[in-house]
């Protein structure tokens, strides 16, 4: 884009900013005692308009500079891919190691462990959705539905049948997978925008059902006193019931509420590791290869004898089951769930994690989940400006890395797998 075009474009952006800022920021009502007065803040408006103008101009000029220097593809790519895989692996091990020792660090107080747990829930959800969106290329805007199914499955099974967390976990996954297939059937023929709309509707349906079926789900009041998981039968409470021991008594520790938090942290860490391992394995199995092939070219897939129906349904079912696992963990961590926790904004956040991380990339999801959960936390001091910083950060990331943090796809077959043909 030429500088002249950039200036014109920036001027248009500035005009839009003016139109928005003038009534919202520019005019303020003030209480002058007797009557309500109006105060004009035109200096604020001027500042906003100038910021937008200059910001837009910088972005355009910067992007224009990048467009003029196209990246070399082709022959160079082979070595680049090798490096990328190496860096990715190194990064993955580094993150894993850090996650393992995090609760033992000196700075790991309640807040840190709790926030890290929050990050891990989103990592797991991101990996689950990655199967559907990143690998199989099916845009799902209602992923939160499976999260909700998992959470309510655990809560209801525990309350009505007295099952414990470990018995409920696989069941919650199964229920979620079943709902995944339920969603999958009607949308088999849909792609892209149409699929997105139906999945969006599905997510809302589940939430509305949970909200209105009060006799079963508790309606808007939700479900309370959901049992906490125990550590091989040892409770995390101050005192145990008659004839039993608690965690701190068994290990001879001083009672601390941190024990349970750390236990929860490791619980979700293990679940997340399992998810990552399972998805990584599946990418190399025929079913995972078929998912990726389906994303790339549906017609070519069929010409290779891939069953499109089964491939889509397994993607929905397996992606959903990970959401279900995460959901039951969420329920047991909170001890209380209500439809409020499963709104569209959750689906949007999880999708943002997948897209921001780079479609299909596991390490990317970790980075994106960390950024998306931590950003609002870090900027807590900015009070009501923090969502503005959050939005700004997302815009900047998408300009800086349009394909996500880790945009390049790492091949699923390495050089080592290749045997030279007999010459």
């Amino acid at each position: 884009m030429s500088p002249l075009h950039a200036v014109r474009d920036a001027a248009i952006a500035a005009f839009v900013a003016l139109a928005v800022a003038l009534p919202i920021v520019g005019v303020r009502t003030v209480d002058t005692g007797a009557v309500l007065g109006v105060d004009f803040r035109l200096d604020w408006v001027a500042a906003i308009v100038a910021t937008v103008f200059l910001g837009r101009l910088c972005v355009l000029l910067w992007m224009g500079r990048r467009e003029r220097a196209p990246r070399q593809a082709g022959m160079l790519e082979t070595t680049a891919l090798g490096w990328l895989a190496l860096i990715g692996r190194f990064l993955a091990y580094g993150i894993m190691g850090f996650a393992l020792i995090l609760p033992m660090m000196s700075f790991a107080d309640r807040y840190v462990v709790d926030t890290a747990t929050q990050v891990l829930i989103y990592v797991m959800l991101g990996w689950g959705l990655n199967v559907v969106v990143g690998l199989a290329g099916l845009l799902d805007l209602g992923y939160v539905a499976f999260y909700a199914v998992g959470a309510y499955s655990y809560a209801l099974l525990a309350q009505n049948f007295g099952l414990n967390f470990w018995q409920c976990l696989p069941l919650a996954g199964l229920f979620a997978a079943f709902f995944g297939i339920l969603l999958g059937f009607p949308v088999l023929r849909l792609r892209g925008d149409y699929l997105a709309i139906v999945t969006l509707g599905f997510g809302e349906m589940i939430r509305i059902i949970l909200n209105n079926w009060a006799s079963f789900t508790g309606g808007p009041n939700g479900l309370t006193s959901i049992p906490r998981p125990s550590f091989f039968g040892l409770e995390f409470s101050r005192s145990a019931p008659e004839g039993e021991q608690t965690f701190h008594q068994f290990f001879g520790l001083e009672y601390s509420t941190l024990h349970r938090l750390v236990f929860m942290y490791y619980l979700i860490l293990i679940l997340a590791f399992l998810t990552s391992w399972a998805v990584g394995r599946m990418r190399k199995l025929p079913v995972g290869r078929a998912w990726e092939a389906l994303r790339e070219d549906e017609i070519a897939c069929q010409s290779l004898g891939i069953n499109r129906t089964m491939t889509k349904l397994t993607a929905f079912a397996i992606g959903a089951s990970f959401g279900g696992f995460a959901g039951s963990f969420f329920a047991t961590r909170q001890g209380f769930i209500s439809p409020e926790s499963f709104t569209f904004i959750e689906s949007a956040t999880i999708l943002a994690i997948v897209v921001l991380g780079g479609m299909g990339s596991q390490v990317g999801v970790v980075l994106a989940a960390t950024v998306l959960v931590l950003l609002p936390e870090v900027f807590r001091d900015l009070a009501h400006y923090r969502m503005m910083v959050f939005g700004l950060a997302m815009v900047l990331i998408m300009i800086w890395r349009p394909k996500g943090f880790i945009g390049a796809r790492v091949p699923s077959i390495r050089l080592a797998d290749f045997r030279r043909p007999a010459a």
Binding site: A73, G74, M75, E77, T78, L81, P286, R289, A290, E292, A293, E296, D297, I299, A300, Q302, S303, L304, G305, I306, N307, R308, R409, P411, S412, I413, L415, D417, F418, R419, R420, P421, A422
Partner: protein, 235 residues
């Protein structure tokens, strides 16, 4: 090997195939030539069950396959290199080939990979390059190689010469002959490039407006004045 009888297909109200009779015998290279829009690609797709035939029958090795779903047809020993190549753009050459073998017995994978990479040494050089960054000719090789990975007895090729330089077309067609002669794969080739196709094929069919109008040995069709004036003049 392949018997097509009275095959019909339609897109909505438009009849694309108006009763096709056609045979491919084991070990042959058979070509189908015709102008743009004659229904050549439709015929090939209908053989694979998409669109589904609205009349007539297709038998493969004596077995009725007209009503089978596409993915089952493609598991019987038929493979297709689709029109426009359709390689998986973000996947490497090796991954594309691996996908070609997705319904095959994994025990044959290593041997089949060797075989395909020997047929197309270019693919061996580019094995870790993404499909989308290959040249047109390389993509065509990849599409054929991918189809061969499932060990087909019948290979369906849809316009392999499309958009390729003359020298590359020659090379591809030479490889097709090699596949047929050395590996015993029967080939059914749909082409607009009538001259090369008829020289390569044992037998040929000419298609006009959804009907077969002429058939015979490749050399005979090449000499036929009608064929010459319609498809070969100026070529």
């Amino acid at each position: 090997m392949l018997e097509v009888r009275g095959l019909q297909a339609r897109y909505g109200a438009i009849e694309a195939l108006r009763g096709i009779d056609l045979d491919v015998k084991a070990g042959e290279i058979v070509t189908l030539i015709g102008a743009n829009g004659a229904g050549k690609s439709t015929l090939l797709m209908t053989l694979c069950g998409q669109p589904r035939a609205s009349g007539g029958s297709v038998r493969f090795e004596g077995r009725e396959i007209t009503r089978l779903p596409t993915f089952e047809i493609m598991r019987l020993g038929i493979a297709q290199s689709p029109e426009g190549r359709r390689v998986f753009p973000r996947m490497t050459v090796l991954e594309n080939l691996k996908l070609g073998a997705i319904v095959a017995d994994p025990a044959h994978y290593a041997a089949d990979l060797d075989r395909v990479l020997t047929l197309f040494p270019r693919l061996a050089e580019r094995r870790d390059q993404r499909g989308g960054t290959l040249s047109g000719g390389e993509q065509q090789m990849l599409a054929i190689g991918r189809a061969l990975m499932s060990r087909p007895r019948l290979l369906l090729l849809d316009e392999p010469s499309l958009g390729l330089a003359p020298l590359l077309v020659k090379q591809i067609f030479a490889t097709v002959r090699e596949i047929n002669e050395n590996e015993g794969v029967t080939v059914f080739l749909v082409e607009q490039n009538a001259f090369h196709a008829l020289r390569l094929a044992h037998r040929g069919y000419v298609m006009v407006n959804g009907r077969i109008t002429l058939s015979g040995p490749g050399s005979e069709l090449l000499a036929n004045p009608e064929v010459r004036s319609a498809y070969l003049e100026g070529a």
